[in-house]
């Protein structure tokens, strides 16, 4: 079984469409997207309700998870870096994980075949 790798990209919500298109172009169209909240270097913002200040430092983001086998991991990471980069605080993080196994529930296939699009 070829090694499977999961790439997790946490970034700005407004980058989602661009990221989807870019991943399709490099042949890694399958992904799971989650709305997330996070904090880090970003300062957040202040909200005021009837004069009462509320500091909001958990900011909305998206988490995009892709599992790849044939597409080079570096290509995915570089593409994501390029797309999500603005140079300002809050661009996000990319994490790379090894995956022990994958199962396609519909057919019961395991390993790389479970994540490769059969039509390719």
């Amino acid at each position: 079984m070829k090694p499977l790798t999961k790439i997790e990209i946490i970034t700005r919500p407004e980058k989602l469409e661009e990221l989807k298109v870019a991943m399709q172009e490099i042949g890694a169209p399958g992904m799971t997207v989650t709305q997330v909240y996070g904090c880090g270097l970003s300062k957040g913002h202040k909200e005021v309700y009837r004069g009462k200040e509320v500091n909001v430092n958990l900011l909305p983001g998206i988490k995009v998870e892709l599992v790849v086998c044939e597409v080079p991991v570096e290509l995915v990471v570089d593409t994501a870096k390029k797309v999500c980069h603005t140079g300002k605080v809050g661009d996000g993080k990319i994490f790379v994980y090894p995956i022990a196994n994958a199962v396609r529930i519909r057919t019961g296939e395991e390993g790389e075949i479970a994540i490769i699009d059969p039509e390719d």
Binding site: T32, T34, Q35, V48, Y49, R50, G51, V54, N55
Partner: protein
């Protein structure tokens, strides 16, 4: 002790004087007691407008609480439409407006509306059916206790709320309404001006709210976690309904389709508009942003402030009252509340108590006989005494509200718990008190906690699986 009694009795007296001038019209017409179709149509429509204010208030308050408490807050207003309407028909109306007993309370002659029929009652409104007057007043009786609920939102037990509301309506609102508006009520002759209930409705509800907020204590999360309004568009819809209904509240208090009604209509609108602008400007300068919550709060503050003077002041005066009312209420909720540290959750006191008090005093400044000959001239129209009379009315209503609310809550707390437990506050009163959730995005949880999904639905389609994942993740 004697002194306390004297102050109390003074309070009671002035309370009742609040709205009488509006009703005391035309003795000649009263004698004739002939129904006027225009007046009747107008008052019935006004009653319907005032009815809409309570559901409007439910939305106004409901949007300001957290997701887990929105239903309990809506219920605390909406259910009162049912509860107090029944109370009003059965005994509330006769306690408030029935034949006078010792200038303190209405007799029980009109229990269950016995004898209240289609003929006018010349003592109250000579040109409309007695029933029309009764139902118009009934809508005021409904919204007043609902206003209090803003102070104890997110932390009062529903059974205690029900008992308190019923007791407060019967032992506070109804007698006070009798003193001020009922025939023979002892405040009726004192000369306090209150066109549509600034004192009877807004001061006593706002101040009672403050007393309960202090007695219940702060919400568990107050000052520890951010408590943010969960739906500001809902607040705007509610505020807009209040503004709309308020035309019935104030203009309808002329009890006739006449020039005075038009005058009150205009002052009501001008004041609400001015306060919308002034609240937003004040908060913009003070805390940096012009907010929607500020604009909606401002319009309500302006409506509260003009209520006692609506039928006594000119449109220009009403703009001044609105401008000042907006700024005063903004500082009372954003600065004074924080400094003093009480948890008046939705600012029932900050807007209605403070705005009503300011409005009652402003009426003593700006009232003019040119606008309403049945009224009086205020401070700026050569009658400084009126200001003093207004202050007495204010002090009296504060005193009644404080004492009676304190006593009622003390008595009720002997028989049942008043405040929600910590667990109930954590899970939210919607689940704890009513067994419901407000929003459908919680469907996932209910589906799985009901009949096991794998038993009733053997095949889970791909689509459904996908949906489950998305919804689960969103949370």
């Amino acid at each position: 002790m004697k002194k306390v009694l004297r102050v109390l009795s003074l309070c009671l007296m002035s309370l009742l004087t609040i709205l009488p001038t509006a009703f005391a019209e035309d003795p000649a017409a009263a004698a004739a007691a002939k129904i006027d179709t225009g007046d009747t149509g107008f008052v019935l429509m006004s009653a319907a407008l005032v009815m809409l204010m309570t559901p409007g208030l439910a939305l106004f308050y409901g949007g300001m609480v957290r997701t887990k408490n929105v239903l309990s807050t809506l219920m605390q207003s909406f259910f009162i439409v049912g509860l107090i309407s029944v109370q009003w028909v059965l005994w509330g109306y006769t306690v408030a407006f029935g034949p006078d007993i010792n200038h303190l309370i209405g007799g029980f002659d009109w229990l269950g509306l016995n004898g209240v029929g289609q003929e006018p009652n010349a003592d109250y409104a000579a040109t409309i059916p007695h029933l029309a007057f009764m139902i118009f007043q009934g809508m005021f009786a409904v919204i007043t206790p609902a206003l209090i609920s803003g102070a104890f939102a997110e932390r009062m037990k529903f059974p205690a709320f029900l008992v308190f509301t019923l007791a407060w309506a019967t032992f506070v609102y109804d007698p006070v309404a009798h003193w001020v508006w009922g025939t023979g009520g002892w405040l009726r002759e004192m000369g306090v001006l209150d066109f549509a209930g600034g004192t009877v409705v807004h001061i006593i509800s706002g101040v009672s709210g403050l007393v309960i907020a202090l007695m219940l204590g702060k919400r568990k999360d107050y000052g520890r976690k951010a408590i943010i309004p969960h739906n500001l568009p809902m607040v705007l819809i509610g505020g807009a309904l209040l503004w709309f209904g308020w035309f019935g509240f104030n203009a309808g208090s002329a009890l006739g389709a006449n020039g005075l009604a038009a005058s009150a209509f205009v002052t009501t609108h001008a004041s609400a508009a001015a306060a919308t602008v002034s609240w937003v400007i004040a908060e913009w300068m003070y805390s940096g942003k012009p907010t929607i919550l500020g604009a909606v709060s401002g319009c309500v503050a302006g409506l509260v402030a003009i209520t006692p003077g609506a039928g006594f002041v000119s449109p220009l005066s009403s703009i001044l009252i609105g401008l000042a009312g907006g700024v005063i209420c903004f500082f009372s909720v954003s600065v004074m509340k924080a400094k003093l540290g009480y948890d008046d959750a939705l600012d029932a006191f900050g807007v209605h108590g403070v705005g009503g008090t300011f409005g009652a005093i402003a009426t003593g400044l700006f009232a003019s006989k040119e606008i309403n000959p049945a009224g009086a001239d205020g401070f700026f129209f050569g009658n400084p005494d009126q200001l003093l009379t207004q202050v007495i009315g204010v002090v009296a209503s504060w005193a009644v509200a404080i004492i009676m609310t304190y006593v009622l809550i003390k008595i009720i707390s002997v028989f049942m718990p008043i405040r929600s437990t910590e667990d109930e506050e954590n899970s939210g009163l919607d689940i704890a008190e009513h067994g419901e959730k407000a929003y459908a995005y919680q469907d996932l949880v209910t589906e799985f906690s009901g009949a096991p999904a794998f038993m009733s639905a053997p095949v889970v389609s791909e689509k459904a699986t996908f949906q489950v994942a998305i919804e689960g993740d969103k949370k």
